[in-house]
Amino acid sequence: MNDALPGRMVLSGPDMARALRRVGHEVLEANKGSADLVLLGIPSRGVPLAHRLAQTMAEVEGEHVPCGALDITMYRDDLRRQPVRHVEPTSLPPGGVEGKVVVLVDDVLYSGRTVRAALDALADYGRPQSVRLAVMVDRGHRELPIRADYVGKNLPTAKTERVWVRLAEVDGHDEVRIAQEAGS
């Protein structure tokens, strides 16, 4: 089934695991431990990534890091440009986000519009002490003044290319692929 996927692999499963572990360490280093940290994954693939990151950090610090999901569909600015999108559940950890150091977790950072929507969504739940952004892949081509604080892999791409982050929890296996978009 791997052969059926288009394009080429740029990160293997072990590559992704190493990158994620490094990102976990970076977050803990910058925050000087896990105090007040809350990880929020952006559905769909940000959520399992956030859980993996939480697990890595628990192994390092020996402390549980609260982890949740933040759906941003209702905050998108392109709802009228695409077919109706499926809405995923939002689940915040019991402590909420008020006064916390929130780390948003997503698979790919591209235009930055998802992150903008996530910041709007987050504001409706409370006022975090600070908000950080961790992504598996930063592929460039930002359309907004937004950057990631923690990046698994910087991946120079052309706009005509597509990047897929595949995760065992969703897709059955881990890898990052890049391919020419069909029709371009």
């Binding site: 209702m74 905050y75 009228r80 695409q82 559940p89 409706d124």
Partner: protein
Amino acid sequence: MKHLLSMADLSREEILAILDTAATMHEVQHREVKKLPTLRGRTIINFFFEDSTRTRSSFELAGKWMSADTINLTGKGTSVSKGESLRDTVKTIDAMGVDMMVIRHMASGAPATIAQWTNCSIVNAGDGTHEHPSQALLDAYTMRARLGDLEGRHVALVGDLAHSRVLRSNLICLRTLGARVTLVAPPTLMPSGIGPWSEGDGFATSYDLDDVLPSVDAVMMLRVQRERMSGGYFPTAREYAVTYGLTTARLAALPGHAVIAHPGPMNRGLEISGEAADAAQSLVLEQVSAGVAVRMSILYHLLSGEAMSA
């Protein structure tokens, strides 16, 4: 999906998509800040030619919580009372550039007719004795929240079926979701022509509530609509309550896991006893609470997505 006129227009997948979105919208209701920016700049007119409390207020709240601008109009106090035709009235409103009209009308089929006259999305919020799709969706939502998947579940719809638009929408919705449905009513309140319909569509009918109750997963009591009746459907209210009401005695005959639904407003002591309405299995308040979430989901599914080329 541009309009919501009849449950018959929705596939199983579309119904489930609306119910799933409603589940996430339900969470908004418990937030301190009940506001989503999703429908910013969109305009919704709630046009109610007939009285309504919960449907109108929940559509209005749903629109407001999603940042749409909503306006309520009633038959009274508009040009309708000056003799303007329905067509002229809705054309006038359409010309103002609204995105959606939510319509309740005493004439069956009015929303579908209006949909042909305008460019905006039309939601049927109850038309005569025809349909009330948003009610059926929220009923399915609450039953699903307690019972899980409705596929193969047995649901009894009981009461004044002949005058009930809720019945028709619920029947179609439940059948689409794969539930087993039994209609229970006195012969005078059974819709005419139900025989061939039930055979063709695979649902059952019964005149005996006690016979049906022990096997149900959910029982929905429909309101006896005195305002639509010229009388003579049953001898006395007391006799109706005894033979077709969900009395305290019948409450005990329900299976332990079964739930009780009522779309409201209830006639306590007539089709449902106070004990049954307030019992732990009763979904009545959950139905009201889900009303806004389900209607937010409906607005989302009709008003987001690719802009229709005019």
